[in-house]
Symmetry: C2
Subunit: 164 residues, 2 copies
DNA sequence: ACGCATTACTTGGCCGACCAAGGTAATCTT
DNA sequence: AAGATTACCTTGGTCGGCCAAGTAATGCGT
């Protein structure tokens, strides 16, 4: 019953319900593609998308309390628990009880996992290059600046974690 | 035992393994925040993040084959199957066998779900505003342009779906 | 010293998303 | 017309991620 039975191939492309947020829509698509691209490369290293961030933090900061990870990655505690269980089983991570606090555990990257650091860095580098291919230095800087602004916006009104 | 026991709050911020991809890192963070922001608003409407896109397409295109959804949303077939099962159970979607092809099903939004269209549009609008708050019109256009470029890059080398 | 809130983590459940297989049905080939 | 191929969808499994509850240990106030 809608009057537009024939559309001359110029109307949509963007769903009507998203007309009020074209940038958000584009951002969603880019995010998904970016995550897929990262995931493909990461799977070759035996990591699932998301685990990279845990490992990065552990590589940088060494033994760390689980609550530290939860705070800095801003993830749900249960998410971290399960990720660590799997990372432990796959040998990338080791957990030991914190001697100073019997309800906490200390997490650290295994020696074996440290070899992955360069690989992950490589993956991250090629991903960056693919993502920004063809963009001038100015465009890249501009993109980084705008992303930072948007991050501030989203972080501010969001769950209000730490967003320095 | 590491020499940097006290860090004067200026060293890292970016993990060493991600030094080669600062923009990718920022993009990941923004993407996650954006998805969370969308999810919060959507949950108030009884939708889970991701379902919005299915509904948008159905609202626009009416009854549609499942393969159509899979193609345009570029999702795994199994993902769509399960999403539709849940959307059907929650009353947002109706599925009927395609009379012209007995292995296919036609999917359409229920009348009840059509009331959600404005709500989702509203959510999408406020999300857009929150995302881009404080950005000038030029910055917004620039952001959209850069996102489009990046999307092209990621889409090209990726699974090679349709990226017009 | 006792009780109560806070912190730290775990478990179970659910959803989006992927992959790998499988089962029909249509279509193409010979 | 029969067989092979392809298209359409489902099932089962795994992961990241969230929420809601629950357990256990610490810390604080009185």
């Amino acid at each position: 019953m809608s009057p537009t039975t024939d559309d001359p191939a110029c109307t949509d492309q963007i769903p009507v319900a998203a007309r009020s947020g074209p940038v958000s829509l584009a951002l969603s698509r880019v995010a998904r593609l970016h995550r897929i691209a990262a995931g493909q490369r990461l799977r070759g290293l035996g990591l699932y998308p998301g685990q990279e961030f845990v490992m990065m933090h552990l590589w940088d900061k060494g033994p760390v309390r689980q609550s530290e990870l939860i705070k800095t990655l801003d993830l749900d505690p249960s998410t971290v628990t399960k990720m660590l269980q799997r990372l432990e089983q796959s040998g990338h991570v080791r957990r030991t009880p914190d001697p100073g606090d019997r309800r906490a555990s200390l997490v650290e990257a295994t020696d074996r996992s440290c070899g992955l650091l360069e690989d992950v860095a490589g993956v991250w580098g090629t991903l960056e290059e693919q993502t920004l291919a063809g963009l001038s230095e100015r465009d890249r800087a501009e993109f980084a600046r705008l992303l930072s602004l948007v991050e501030g916006n989203l972080c501010a009104e969001a769950g209000a974690a730490q967003c320095p």
